[in-house]
Symmetry: C2
Subunit: 241 residues, 2 copies
């Protein structure tokens, strides 16, 4: 019965029953959000911690010339960073992509929980580290991977992350991201992205159509992407206790 946020944290660090129930109570009354709604905007003073329980969202920046760069995708179970409370202003915005269910946790309440429940704190930090590793992977993609490798790599990332929170129905995943968004996250144009998707389809590795990603040949896709899944989960250290 635990929501995806708790499931995810529990996958990082085994949580005690009290920890689970504290987290449950604090995410019990989530809010329903329309798609394309900004949860926080660049320049805002950071408010409460958001946790996505259902639906998708993204972090993004907009440049003066109007170009958009997507910095990360948030899927069910993901939270926005905890420590941003230390900063004066957000350096990027966060927006829902689909209709979403998001829980709002008061920042001081969250601080209190993390103080009293080291397991929660540790799990949150692990999540943060994985996010950071993902940023590293994105930089590497944009800097040193060809466009087909880049696209394949992102698909691997999203598929695996989704699978970790039980969002896939085996070789398939509902991926509600328009080609324009994907292009804005990969630093390419929608036109070119479209052609790359066609190429991937032709290769037999995967198909992305009508909001549905199907991995036909995982090995081939991984090989194209040069994907090393370790950064998403294998590197997790399981503590003895």
């Amino acid at each position: 019965m635990a929501n995806r946020f708790i499931q995810k944290l529990n996958g990082f660090v085994r949580l005690s029953d009290t920890e689970v129930s504290v987290l449950t109570s604090v995410t019990e009354t989530p809010e329903h959000c329309a798609p394309k709604r900004d949860l926080m905007r660049e320049g805002d003073r950071p408010g409460p911690v958001f946790v996505i329980l259902e639906g998708w969202a993204c972090r993004y920046k907009v440049l003066p010339n109007g170009a958009r760069q997507i910095l990360a995708y948030l899927m069910p179970g993901d939270a926005c960073d905890l420590d941003i409370g230390l900063l004066e202003e957000m350096d990027h915005s966060i927006q829902t992509i689909t209709p979403a269910v998001v829980a709002t946790i008061d920042r001081t309440a969250m601080d209190g929980i993390m103080d009293q429940h080291p397991g929660v704190a540790r799990a949150m930090y692990v999540g943060q580290l994985i996010d950071e590793a993902t940023l590293h992977a994105w930089i590497t993609s944009m800097g040193r991977r060809t466009s087909i490798e880049r696209v394949a790599h992102l698909m691997c990332e999203l598929y695996l992350r989704a699978r970790n929170v039980g969002l896939t129905s085996e070789p398939r995943l509902a991926l509600p991201l328009s080609q324009a968004m994907l292009a804005d996250s990969l630093g390419m144009t929608p036109v070119h992205l479209n052609r790359v998707l066609r190429e991937l389809r032709a290769s037999g590795a995967m198909t992305l159509q009508r909001g549905s990603l199907t991995i036909e040949e995982p090995e081939r896709l991984v090989r194209i992407a040069g994907f090393d899944e370790n950064y998403l989960h294998r590197r997790l250290r399981r503590r003895a206790s």
Copy 2:
């Protein structure tokens, strides 16, 4: 007499005298490192926390095809992430660029310090958040900025960060980074980077020659880069206490 690491943290959050002395004692016996020496390698199990006291280093990844992507530059005062102890393996390597002086802090000792001295913990987290904002800026550069904007943006970042730790001698900064490294951080080839640097020189904004960066016209450089310095320091929230 405080070293650059302490100076930097103290700039984020005012540290108490005890906090300063604890940090001093723990960075008192640093090690001298040769250039191009790996401090940690991708796949390693994270060891102690490193703090760069003098010299430069970088985080980087190498792809199977041999391409290298630099993920961040570390300058005096910078530390490698603290929480990586939670992960099983490093997702990237860290290497010195110049001869460097680096302090090594035992991980459990560091944890203890952060437990007992909330000011230190907060300052470290602020540092981490700024690093993360920098990763966001890099992604944005690679995805949606032209090459001249990208180069100008990186120069602005490095100059400002260096100035924050007192490394500049006003319009000038000793920048010991080869064009090949810079290219590997910006996702371009050395040849093209060289041409872009020539263009920037011609524009009168800045000159990078023989390891020395001179900002001739800051406003022009900032304008070319579309640089918003807020992400590096203005967004810092000063706590009342």
